[in-house]
Symmetry: C2
Subunit: 613 residues, 2 copies
């Protein structure tokens, strides 16, 4: 199937759209009529530009309200259609898209619609053009591709075929099983898009919430699978538009579009490995200097981390506990230091253990090559990939200390052995500007093969925070993407403070959180508002003893149908913080406690004296 | 009916919420349980604070999933409910809100639900408390207030009553006519909210898109009217939450909430004048200095405006044409000059002729007093009111030159009489930051009694622009509110350039736009991209002659079912521009041409040499 895109899916000028689509590797582009309006040259120059950029022009979009109009208007409808055909030819497109009539006064007669389309197809044939006919869920009588196929068959013209639209088909409750009845040669084009939900009014769904496949929740992959089963070899064109995507550059949309296709292909592949492409978190790197570094190191020792290795210049230390490795990077050059200079103490990279062979084989790597971050020197000699918001991921085929450079670069530090009180990275949270939220979701789903859960809204004391969890197949890498429109939420404050790779939070798991909390100087723990513990009595059937224990240790509590969950937060350092969790069967990330955590932090932000100890 | 609000409707801390509600004049506030979590003192202090601020505590929200739970869980449900009752008493609330059970395993038995509620009511009675029972569209068995009323009647307890929720009732297709069957004494509370549409999944509708009445499109006024007809005298509480409102301060939400009530009352009043509260635009004031001022004056003369009056110091000139008055203010002190200093040449105020007596009688003036803009000296000695985004409106009872100060302050300038080529202000556009969009809508509907049309999205070349038209009853004041999430749209660029009162555009009407265009130096007109005219041939059945005429004069064309529309734009001055329109029956504002206008301007913005003539 050919990866294509509609110019409607991009913002910017037509020249930029064609260039972005061609550079991202799309084989064809549909030209939206309104885009020609702003094009500086005559329509013929659109054809020349596309040919120069080596991308096919797929269609002109769209002739509307053409077929089965009341008698008096038929002559004008045909005149208008001929003008569309002329423009189709001028831009060098082989096909004109005709959308099913949405006017209320459309004549409800398939024969009449077929006769009109046959007449149009004949006019097109004299120009060497094809006509694609597309059902719309908002049409008066041709709501599903099954209806459109009836008319196309009746019209019976070689150069008249079907266009299938994913969102309109789903909105019209079309059964993709019926595709089996259609000769794939007669499908001229498929329009792909996703949406947050199908439980919404048809007009709203089809006109305002079009997402890339994988960003929403519609069964677009079912259509994709049905087309593959049908051996459809024609073009699939992305046709999306929404507030967020239109605020992105054409090249960002093109890149995301390619990732959406990668994801569709990945889901389809039968030979897909049952293993997790990303296995687990190998390390977390923090960039810091001077007083920031000493505060971080005091917090880490408090939390039971032990410095086990130092690089030869003595600027990079490894802190370890259980299977967790933290890289504390105080080097005054390189990529991590650039992060520090831009935003102060922050997570500068995350190391992931991946199935390297599979990872490099995946199509997604074609659209985002490792190491594309430019010239800045990296901490480790392994491939990297840039993620949403400028995040840096190191990709390791094995543990950090089994890498060839490890013994050369790092010396063990003699001293106490690390404890195992904390075991693994349980999850982490990335804060994003709103425009990148959908882009990020697609990155993690497509490039890292993460699954995503449904979006939920969290009430921050100063606004609303949108949150969505993504995780790998074995459940060992779990992260939450947070975003907020309000400038005063803890999420948005953190994004505004940290321009890049805004991980505001890493959580570690623990087998006995009460014993762990007993070892912690309470000045390093986030203070939970006292009424929280009284409120727990209204939420859960737990003993007063447990609540007292929780209160004494500033531990938060949650429960789902599978078990209980305990959470302990560190105070923040430049907005960044750690969490320690104990899960007894519980599967969530403690969303029910997010508002109280945000509240406590917002009070802490306002005082801003976190580590004046 | 008592104006109340839920603490859930505000962002911020509970103390700030109570203060904001009290200061805005709400008589009662409901306390959302989660808000107590962050309250610094014991629950008793909530009662003390409310009493000090002279606002009643109306209820504790909300006990959920209480009634008709499976047998084994009933004991815990009652224990939990007693803890809610204890908290209700501690915060000094007379009532606990109980929401209908949403669990799938709820026992479908109204008798069982009634028995549970009766038991709860008896527990409440010993504490002197009341129970309000609220149906939810998302509940398993009690979706509409009619269902809840059946259960309340069965339970038959004096201190158990009904809570009616507007959004849930509308989502459950409840008929407000059935309210007649209910004794208004047994309605303990009404929850009010609006939503953009009811054509959306119930869970989404009720949980994520709650707007203030008047900001959405649900028939909330029908419920309000039905309650008034029933002589309901109890509390009405606003219960709203959405991305935009949660980004506002508590006092801004409280002010908007009061406006929503004003609007409901205004719609209800039978004695409401059929006349327009706002009659028309009396004048538009532009602040400018030096080179900006000469550029503006050259543009105005080009457009046929004539300087007719000058104030005594010679700093304020009136430019007139037809019934249009432009006030060109070059004074170096005062409010207009403050606008100039902040953002350069811009519209600093709009004068409106209003029915002054009615205007000052309306409740809305209580919540936003004229002249609240502080100490800066104003241009005219008439009342002003501050609008969205800091906009200043002068309110006049008659024409500017019939004001007592006019002959004292202004001297006629001898010279040519103004022409009548342009007649009136046809419409204008205000650009807003996204968070103020809904607030602005409510301001214009409530304070100015404007009607609003449905929102539509316009494709800017660099993003999407949300647009909504509001107008007065006689149609002589029409404005469009525009807002965009994308930083690169012409709308958002303009907002970012002009911090206050960002009117980016005023349109004047004209009887013969071609004759008018012939008088205009083409260097002052916005250049329309040439392909626009070819595209017109695809849209409309108009003659090639007309298209040639349009092309020669850079005039845009549109048509609706009632007639045709012609548009001519000036080039921009500091982002601001004028439009000349001729409407032959057409009723819109030319939304179909907005993308090409934005495109042409975005090219013009990028070159930024508009008036280098």
């Amino acid at each position: 199937m050919l990866r294509c895109v509609s110019s409607l899916s991009f913002s910017g000028l037509l020249e930029e759209k064609i260039l972005a689509a061609a550079e991202a590797g799309f084989s064809g582009i549909e030209i939206f009529r309104e885009d020609i309006v702003g094009f500086p040259g005559p329509p013929e120059d659109v054809a020349a530009l596309a040919s120069e950029k080596r991308i096919d022009i797929l269609s002109l979009q769209s002739l509307r309200d053409f077929e089965a109009v009341p008698g008096a208007e038929r002559a004008w409808a045909l005149t208008r259609a001929e003008r569309f055909l002329d423009l189709t030819a001028r831009i060098g497109s082989p096909m004109l898209v005709v959308c099913a009539n949405t006017r209320a006064d459309t004549i409800p007669d398939a024969d009449r619609a077929a006769a009109d389309l046959a007449a149009l197809a004949d006019l097109a044939r004299t120009r060497g053009l094809r006509i694609g006919y597309e059902a719309l869920a908002t049409s008066a009588h041709v709501r599903s591709y099954v209806d459109a196929w009836t008319i196309v068959k009746k019209a019976n013209r070689e150069n008249l075929g079907l266009i299938i639209n994913a969102v309109h088909s789903i909105a019209a409750d079309a059964d993709f099983g019926r595709l089996r009845d259609i000769d794939p040669q007669r499908i001229f084009l498929v329009h792909l898009a996703d949406a947050p939900t199908a439980r919404i009014d048809t007009r709203l769904l089809t006109q305002s919430f079009r997402l890339l496949p994988g960003q929403g929740n519609l069964p677009v992959h079912d259509l994709y699978g049905a087309l593959a089963a049908l051996n459809y070899r024609g073009p699939l064109s992305l046709e999306i538009f929404n507030d967020q995507s239109r605020a992105l550059t054409p090249s960002a949309i093109a890149r995301d579009g390619m990732r959406a296709f990668d994801l569709l292909d990945g889901t389809l592949k039968a030979d897909r490995s049952p293993h997790s492409l990303v296995r687990d978190v190998a390390f977390v790197e923090l960039a810091c200097q001077g007083e920031d570094a000493s505060q971080l190191e005091r917090l880490l020792s408090q939390m039971g981390f032990v410095r086990t290795h130092l690089n030869r210049p003595g600027t990079i230390a490894l802190y370890r506990q259980g299977r967790i490795t933290l890289v504390v990077n105080q080097a005054t050059a390189g990529l991590a230091h650039s992060f520090y200079l831009l935003q102060g103490l922050s997570v500068s990279a995350v190391g992931l253990r991946v199935e390297m062979e599979q990872f490099t084989k995946r199509t997604s790597l074609q659209s985002s090559k490792p190491g594309s971050e430019g010239q800045a020197k990296r901490t480790f000699d392994v491939p990297t990939i840039r993620g949403p918001g400028g995040a840096v991921f190191y990709l390791l085929d094995d543990d950090l200390d089994r890498q060839p450079f490890f013994d050369r670069d790092f010396t063990p530090v003699l001293g106490a052995a690390p404890s195992n009180a904390l075991g693994n990275v349980d999850h982490f949270i990335q804060a994003l500007v709103p425009n990148l939220f959908l882009s990020a979701l697609l990155f993690y789903r497509s490039v890292f093969d993460f699954k995503s859960e449904e979006q939920h809204d969290v009430f921050d004391p100063h606004g609303m925070v949108r949150s969505r969890t993504v995780s790998n197949a074995n459940g060992r890498v779990r992260m939450s993407l947070n975003s907020s429109l309000s400038h005063a939420t803890t999420t948005q404050r953190f994004v505004e403070k940290s321009g890049f790779a805004a991980y505001h939070h890493f959580a570690f798991d623990c087998d006995d959180i009460f014993a762990y909390a007993a070892t912690l100087d309470p000045r390093f723990a986030m203070k939970v508002p006292p009424n929280y513990y009284d409120d727990l009595m209204l939420r859960f059937n737990v003993s007063a003893e447990l609540i007292d224990k929780l209160r004494r240790s500033n531990i938060l509590y949650d429960r789902d149908s599978r078990g209980s969950y305990f959470q302990l937060y560190s105070r923040q350092l430049n907005g960044f913080f750690f969490e320690v969790v104990q899960r007894n069967g519980y599967t969530g990330l403690g969303a029910a406690n997010a508002p109280v955590r945000m509240l406590a932090q917002s009070l802490d932000f306002e005082t801003e004296h976190a580590f004046d100890l």
